[in-house]
Amino acid sequence: MSLEPFIAFLYILHLRKSSKTFASLQQWDKVFIGLLLAIAFLFVIEVVFSAGFIIKWLWHLLMLFIITATFKLPELSRFKTIMLAVLPLAVILLLKDLIKPFTDQFFVSIKNLLNYTFPLATTWLIALSIIWTRQQKALEKERQLRLAEEQQHKIVEARKMELELLVAERTAQLTRQKEELENALVDLQTTQKQLIQSEKMASLGELTAGIAHEIQNPLNFVNNFSEVSVELLDELKDGPLHNLPQAEQEEVEVIINNLTQNLEKINHHGKRADAIVKGMLQHSRSSSAEKEPTDINALVDEYLRLSYHGLRAKDKLFNASIKTNFDENVGAVEVVPQDIGRVFLNLLNNAFYAVTEKKKNLAGTYEPTVSVSTRRLDDAIEIVVKDNGNGIPQVVAEKIFQPFFTTKPTGQGTGLGLSLSYDIIKAHEGEIKVETKEGECTEFTISLPLNIIPDI
């Protein structure tokens, strides 16, 4: 009976067990099992056939192999300590068998020496094994602790990632909200500007109406007295004048004629003022006309022709090419046709006026063009009147919707056309906007909502 198979068996068992924690040993599992089986098989043979004399050499070889492998293979380097424990015993056992056949005094004394050292080696083996086991246990504990720590770390890491994601999400949300708020602010500011503008317009309109009415009283006297005075002068010329001496008659007649002319001028300008006032009053005129479904394309077309032929009748030289682009989907919209028609007429007249003015200064290649288009949007319709005239300077563009603002020469415009148009479009809850490039074009855009709430 030999100790070696037990030591080898236990050692390999230990290696197998360790392979569970050290991945580098796993590939050798089959080798370990093979060795274990071989040891068991040899041991059985040794016991059953009492073949100790051969097999004990095999044990020695096995031990040599194991010890060499442990010291040589890097994967097994951690088990060197065990081999240190085993080594003295293995050497003693090997030497004992090696020197058994010799009976010299020298060898006998060595044999005795070996016999003495055998218990020491055994004790050495046991002590180191115990120390080893304890160390392993401590190491294992340490390892477990590290694993736990690692686990903890992983959890913290994951948590951190989660938080970072959350923060990123929140940040995006906040940014989005900030942008929305900024947009809302811009919208609000625009609306406020528009409100102020329309308030200004409204108060101007009211003021205009009040003034207009009051002006009609003095105007009544100016127009009627000047007219009746002309009549009186005519009577003077027909009757009493003839009673004067011939020489004075001529002189007086000249004076009377001058007076008549002056009075006619007074009357003429009074009538002009009257026309202006009438225009102003259309601002305050509460639209008594009813809204009715109106074919906008047909209305635009009608007033386009009206404007064009009206201007042709006044000025034979007037000419401009007209481009129309009507969207069939516009259909019928609830409006007061006369009022909206007036707006179209104002815009078209202005457009034709603008191109005519430009043509006067730019004979030759310039082709005066007025284009009109309609467009159906989701909840509104749009009518665009564009001309390639001189455009409107920015300073002027801000004022064009104010009453009495005009760039036309005295007597040619009252300055009420666009102001009135503005009021009419507002009354329809629509919008009128102007875009212009100085020297190139002007574009008026009217949008009318499709769901107009009828006035009550």
């Binding site: 006297f221 100016v222 009627n224 007219e227 009746v228 009074g270 009053l281 008594s288």
Partner: protein
């Protein structure tokens, strides 16, 4: 025909006298003037039996032309005098109110005398 002109502007008197100078000379019309609604009413009380046509302004200090109209149409029921309103405020609100109160006609300032004379002829013949 007697015509009572009610207007707070005294110049209205001169204007009517000059405008109708021929008719006045020929005694076709005879004008009386009042510069307020109250004065017009007292005139009407004094001259109750004259056939009268009244031309009245609307905006006047004190009694307005519309109040005057209301008084006249209530008080002088048989035969009611013809009342024409002449105003600078030719808006539909004024017009509708005047018509509801029984105004026979409605003219706006500045007065077109050619139109007014036409209307008076018709009234006279009627």
């Amino acid at each position: 025909m007697k015509i009572l002109v009610v207007d707070d502007e005294p110049d209205m008197q001169t204007l009517f006298q000059q405008r109708f100078r021929k008719e006045i000379k020929e005694h076709k019309v005879d004008f009386a003037f009042a510069i307020s609604g109250e004065e017009a009413l007292s005139y009407l009380n004094k001259h109750e039996h004259e056939a009268v046509l009244i031309l009245s302004d609307i905006n006047m200090p004190g009694m307005s032309g519309l109040e005057l109209l209301q008084h006249i149409k209530e008080k002088y029921a048989v035969p009611p005098p013809v009342v024409m309103m002449i105003t600078a405020y030719g808006d539909s609100e004024n017009y509708n109110q005047a018509m509801r109160l029984g105004a026979d006609d409605f003219l706006t300032k500045p007065i077109d005398f050619a139109v007014l004379k036409e209307k008076l002829k018709i009234e006279n013949n009627a």
